[in-house]
């Protein structure tokens, strides 16, 4: 497969002898330490109405190894979801994020769980980066009780309120005003935290986005609008949908930054910059230049509006996991074998979670009628034949 080919071609025999401590670490899972490391982003940031942050990003071995592991996990998870969908264990919609992992992990590295994230329907990896488990993901996708929404939401409706992840939204663009509302509430509560509202290049043209941005700028809300520009809104290329595909500039009076979304460190730097900005000066737009390997959803092969060369080209040149792998290897933070072992571990974790999720039962029939309201007041609800099926809402 493309990935292993890349790994082989990128391998350089690590001729330096490893010190004893790291040789011992071969028997434990690699974790790295916190010793500071500075890395340059792939490309400089382009800014609009503000000064771009520096290209030099502070990181450390532990962070890089965590990036690698987390992105490898997400990649494997999405590929496994693809198989499950084709096996008809997942129904309806399934929008996969593979290729865009760097946005999720880079963002998480710059913020805390008290900051809020809200996104659209391509939400599996964002959920995981906010602390969701693989079991919750696969069980939800298969509509089982162990799912994060107890099987009642589905692929597009993952939530994790205790780590301020507010979903998971199916209506294109709706999540942006909602995210600005979260930012409003954070400011109202004086929490000194921010909200990242993610949307795609397709959603970037939505009117409600500009309505929300106007209000956010007027009221100085700590809202960060993040356009995950994967260059295609379903089957429509950005240049066919937007007169101005420079999404980071679309805020007009709102500053913006264009970021290489395939570079987790650039994402981290931009999000850190954006958080500081938003807390002091109100809204800012981040445009993440990213790419999805899959089509829009599982019913879209993704190759009728893009060439296979384009897709494989991005995989070769810009894959986010390979970037981090090269970084780790070139700084001798781990060996190739160790990284391969991580990938094997991650694969096993995913397989175990799927097996466990398959064991989880479908929801009880009574669950049809739960959670309609937070406070049901004892009112009656009805099934298809109300003389047959009625329930009292708690």
């Amino acid at each position: 497969m493309a990935l292993s080919h890349l790994a082989a071609s990128a391998s350089r025999s690590s001729s330096l002898l490893k010190p004893l401590s790291s040789a011992l670490s071969l028997r434990r899972s690699i974790s790295g330490d916190n010793s500071p490391l500075t890395v340059e982003t792939s490309v400089p940031f382009t800014s609009h109405q503000c000064e771009a942050p520096s290209r030099s990003v502070e990181t450390n071995p532990k962070e890089l190894l965590t990036f690698f592991r987390d992105m490898a996990l997400m990649r494997r998870m999405e590929i496994a979801a693809d198989s499950l969908y084709k096996a008809k264990l997942i129904r309806g919609f399934c929008h996969l994020y593979d290729g865009q992992e760097a946005v999720a992990v880079g963002m998480e590295a710059a913020i805390t769980k008290k900051d809020c994230i809200i996104t659209a329907y391509r939400d599996h990896c964002t959920f995981v980066s906010r602390g969701g488990t693989l079991l919750e993901v696969f069980a939800e996708l298969m509509g089982r009780q162990a799912g994060c929404s107890k099987g009642k939401g589905g692929s597009m409706h993952f939530y994790k309120k205790d780590s301020n992840f507010y979903g998971g939204h199916g209506i294109v663009g709706a999540q942006v005003p909602l995210g600005c509302g979260l930012a409003f509430a954070q400011k109202y509560s004086k929490d000194e935290t921010v909200t990242f509202a993610l949307y795609g290049d397709g959603a970037a043209n939505q009117g409600q986005l500009f309505e929300a941005l106007n209000i956010s700028a007027l009221w100085d809300l700590p809202a960060i609008l993040v356009c995950e520009n994967n260059h295609y809104g379903m089957g429509t290329a950005e240049w066919r949908a937007a007169k101005s595909p420079a999404y980071y500039k679309r805020g007009d009076y709102v500053p913006g930054l264009k970021v290489d979304g395939m570079d987790a460190l650039a994402v981290k730097q931009a999000c850190k910059f954006a958080k500081e900005h938003a807390l002091k000066n109100g809204p800012i737009i981040l445009e993440m230049d990213t790419y999805r390997y899959h089509g829009h959803s599982m019913s879209d092969p993704g190759s009728s509006y893009r060439t296979r060369d384009e897709i494989s080209g991005v995989r070769q040149e810009r894959d986010p996991i390979e970037r981090i792998r090269k970084l780790i290897l070139s700084h001798d933070l781990a060996t190739e074998k160790e990284l391969k072992d991580v990938e094997k571990e991650v694969r096993k974790e995913v397989d175990d979670a799927i097996a466990q999720a398959k064991e989880s039962p479908m929801p009880e029939p009574s669950e049809l009628f739960t959670n309609v309201y937070a406070k049901g007041l004892g009112v009656e609800s009805f099934g298809a034949d109300r003389k047959e099926v009625r329930a009292t809402l708690p």
Binding site: K152, K161, H169, P177, G181, E211, I215, N371, K387
Partner: protein, 367 residues
């Protein structure tokens, strides 16, 4: 001695009864009277005072004191952080309100009229109503959407629609519609305290009307239960259901019917969703006849649901076909005479009730 004392006491208590009776008949100033506007304003004030998470948002709610003056004085009292004037961007500000509710605040979003809520309806239904269900209880949405609903006077087709049926069909929403000042206070307070999204349908023409209120109603802890209708007038011959302005019309119709020996039971729905099917059916089982009254469009309306519910639950108790009085099945015209024909009038309710009681043949042929 005792007998004289008792007589004196009775005399005094009779005097106490008299003013109360005269209030009911002629709205004298003995008991307190407040307008629906004052009722809503005081409810908002008290709930904002009691809970710092409650805030108001909408066009002209702040500096303008409210397009219909419902939010008068609140900006001055609570400041611009809690009373927010929005730009004319319903989709945007409603989404922001819902997002704030996700986080745990308690927004009260005003639509200048519910006609404009159509610009934001995706957020009301998809972002607010369904979230608790889709998240299996993680994300509850304690928001209130309020504003004038239905016909005003001479405002034309785009400003006169009633949205009760649309919103009340949606699981996950609660839909309330007050008639008098007691309703306005009690239901709005209940709506703000409720953890679910509530659509609160007011009526512009009722804002200026005064109604008597007891001390209990004026107390800041006063609250009405959601999902319970009120029997405004008891009767035995025919049940008339109504909400909002039509309750007043139904009560007038009941007075007229009484002169012809027909005693109508008038039910003020108060809550469109959840619908108090129990009160309605109990009443119909007593009277055996039903007239539903609403201002909105007849097809798929609130009355249609009530009629279906009664036919399903109380069929064997019906002595006459169920009847619906609703707005005309046309966009609202401007000309005064046509507008009058487009909304129910008291005589329409009276005629339908008589039909139900005498089974007289109606004028319009059934197609």
């Amino acid at each position: 001695m005792l007998a004289i004392a008792r007589q004196r006491m009775l005399g005094q208590s009779f005097k106490k009864i008299l003013p109360a009776v005269s209030v009911l008949r002629s709205y004298s100033s003995a008991a307190k009277q407040i307008t629906v506007r004052e009722a809503l304003n005081s409810a908002l004030d008290e709930e904002m005072s009691a809970d710092p998470k409650v805030f108001l948002m909408g066009e002209e709610v702040g500096e303008y004191q409210g397009a219909y003056k419902i939010t008068k004085g609140l900006l001055e009292k609570y400041g611009p952080e809690r009373v927010l004037d929005t730009p004319i961007t319903e989709a945007g500000f409603t989404g922001i309100g819902v997002g704030a509710a996700y986080y745990g605040l308690k927004p009260v979003v005003e639509f200048m009229t519910f006609n404009f809520s159509m610009q934001a309806i995706d957020h009301i239904i998809n972002s607010a109503a369904k979230s608790n269900y889709m998240s299996a209880g993680q994300i509850s949405v304690p928001i209130v959407f309020r504003g004038p609903n239905g016909a005003a006077a001479g405002v034309g087709a785009q400003h006169s629609q009633c949205y009760a049926a649309w919103y009340a069909s949606c699981p996950g929403l609660k839909v309330l519609s007050p008639y008098n000042s007691e309703d306005a206070r009690g239901l709005l307070k209940a709506a703000i305290r409720d953890p679910d999204p509530v659509v609160f349908l007011e009526n512009e023409l009722l804002y200026g009307e005064s109604f008597p209120v007891s001390d209990e109603v004026l107390d800041s802890s006063f609250c009405l239960p959601i999902g319970k209708a009120k029997i405004e007038r008891e009767g035995k011959d025919v049940t008339i259901t109504a909400f909002s302005k039509m309750v007043g019309y139904a009560l007038k119709a009941a007075e007229m019917l009484e002169r012809d020996g027909i005693y109508a039971e008038v039910i003020n729905l108060r809550s469109i969703r959840p619908l108090d099917r129990s009160t309605i059916n109990t009443s119909v089982r007593k009277t055996n006849r039903l007239i539903t009254v609403e201002e909105g469009f007849p097809q798929h309306g609130v009355g249609a649901e009530i009629c279906a519910s009664v036919v399903e639950e109380s069929f064997s108790y019906l002595d006459a076909p169920v009847e619906r009085i609703a707005g005309a099945d046309v966009p609202m015209p401007y000309a005064a005479n046509l507008e009058r024909m487009a909304v129910p009038q008291v005589e329409d309710i009276v005629r339908a009730a008589k039909r139900a009681c005498y089974r007289s043949v109606p004028l319009a042929a059934t197609a």
